[in-house]
């Protein structure tokens, strides 16, 4: 189930998930979302616009409810930033499912290949996971440390609990590249634009959603 707040790269994400074997439905219906085995919250654009759209579609509470239900919810790029309570980017509160905040890149900071940090951080960058392969969430298993993923973002997430950060990349210092909390999985990079490694993550996600759906309710 891909959550449609009409402001995201819905097509890219759905096509990539289909390529990875998912039975994809794009929806803006709370009922359809709450009946899904797994969901993906895409994101491109500005935080306030996305939160406003989710509010108008009455999807804010259903997304929180889905996240608490223990079914896998994946959030991408702005989707990851929306999980936090608030963002430097906007005035509206975020979904507040993960503690921490979303900050703007410090543009005055010097970097290796130029006098200043270029914002947005856009392009391929290498990602290192915080846990050994066997201890990672199944969605990130089998992805070698140092794999390159495609990023486009001007703001970055700062989870309060270091245990929530699943991966980092370097951009003027370490930057949170992925978050995992229970069955909430989020990436700052775009798996759908990150070639084979990105598709591997979606394939893992699709398989994981099926595994969870098939496992008996405890």
């Amino acid at each position: 189930m891909v959550i449609n707040h009409r402001l995201a790269n819905i097509h890219s994400v759905s096509k990539a998930l289909e390529l990875c074997g998912a039975d994809v439905e794009v929806t803006d219906s709370a009922e359809a979302l709450l009946n899904a085995d797994g969901a993906l919250l895409p994101g491109v654009g500005a935080a306030d616009a996305a939160m406003r759209a989710l509010g108008e579609l009455n999807l804010i509470e259903p997304i929180r409810e889905f996240a608490l239900s223990g079914r896998p919810l994946m959030s991408v790029c702005l989707g990851m930033q929306l999980l936090f309570p608030d963002s430097d980017e906007g005035k509206l509160p975020g979904l507040g499912i993960i503690d921490g905040r979303v900050a703007r890149f410090d543009v005055d900071q010097p970097v290796d290949d130029g006098p200043r940090l270029k914002v947005p951080h856009m392009g391929w960058n290498s990602v290192n996971f915080t846990a050994e392969d066997a201890n990672r969430h199944p969605v990130f298993r089998g992805i070698p440390d140092g794999s390159y993923f495609y990023f486009v973002h001007s703001f970055h997430c700062l989870p309060s609990n270091p245990a929530d950060s699943a991966a980092t990349t370097e951009y003027g210092g370490p930057v949170c590249a992925a978050v995992v909390k229970g069955e909430l999985i989020a990436t700052q990079f775009h798996p759908e634009k990150s070639a084979d490694r990105g598709l591997q993550i979606y394939t893992n996600f699709v398989r994981h959603v099926a595994d969870i759906a098939a496992s008996p309710v405890v």
């Binding site: 096509k15 392009g123 759908e192 990150s194 990105g198």
Partner: protein, 241 residues
């Protein structure tokens, strides 16, 4: 350095022109999406899509195909041809295109490039400078703009452009060598990043471009004729430091 295979579109098909001559067209594939999939499978980290009808006419005849490719692509795309204003550029970025390339508009209405940089950010914007005998050509290479390519580069850098794609028309689809001299001249005189197109015919050409500090090499004819194996080129460039 990005190794960037090109898909040139005309009437929804994947074609190649010889030195930009619209009368000398070869259709390489009826299905641009399958070409994109082949390039992805070969390990390309970016693909260049050229809307040839758009470049000539300024209207984006292949817009539907391009949008479909942008949605389907699992790697970032850059698109050129017929992008004459910031609105068109913004729509492409919304479709999921990573970079838009301004050609004719950069010469005729440079304020559109400036607005695109302001609205979309400098990383999304590339200016394509297509030079025939060192002079800029526009409108699908059918018109001479009467301005020296190097002067154009300087003007664009002054506008805030951070990435330029330099295409040597005389070398396009000729399978000779890229214009190393022009690449060096731009790199030595400006701070912008540069993509080189036209005439690249071997992995040695690619390695030399990388050594010069070129940001990306656009490949057309060489991969379509099989002179360069894309997968081999990608690994050779990644292995070479």
């Amino acid at each position: 350095m990005d190794v960037i295979p090109a898909i040139d579109l005309r009437g929804g098909k994947c074609v190649r022109l010889h030195q930009g001559d619209y009368a000398r067209e070869t259709v390489f594939d009826d299905d641009p999406l399958s070409v994109l999939r082949r390039f992805e499978a070969a390990g390309a980290t970016r693909v260049n899509i050229v809307d040839l009808d758009g470049a000539l006419e300024g209207t984006r005849t292949n817009a539907g195909v391009v949008a479909e490719m942008a949605a389907a692509a699992t790697i970032p795309l850059q698109v050129s041809g017929g992008i004459r204003d910031v609105r068109t550029a913004a729509a492409l970025v919304e479709d999921g295109v990573a970079r838009v390339v301004f050609g004719t508009a950069a010469v005729e209405t440079p304020y559109e490039v400036q607005s695109a940089i302001a609205d979309l950010g400098t990383e999304c914007v590339v200016v394509g400078i297509d030079a025939r005998d060192g002079v800029v050509a526009t409108r699908g290479w059918t018109t001479s703009a009467g301005i020296r390519a190097m002067d154009m580069v300087r003007n664009m850098v002054d506008l805030g452009v951070s990435r330029i794609q330099y295409t040597d028309i005389n070398r396009d689809a000729t399978m000779t060598h890229p214009n190393f001299a022009a690449a060096s001249e731009i790199l030595n005189n400006t701070t912008c990043r540069i993509l080189i197109a036209g005439g690249i015919s071997s992995i040695d050409d690619l390695l030399k471009l990388k050594e010069l500090g070129v940001d990306g090499a656009v490949l057309g004819q060489a991969i379509y004729t099989g002179a360069i194996d894309l997968a081999e080129a990608v690994s050779a460039i990644q292995a070479h430091s």
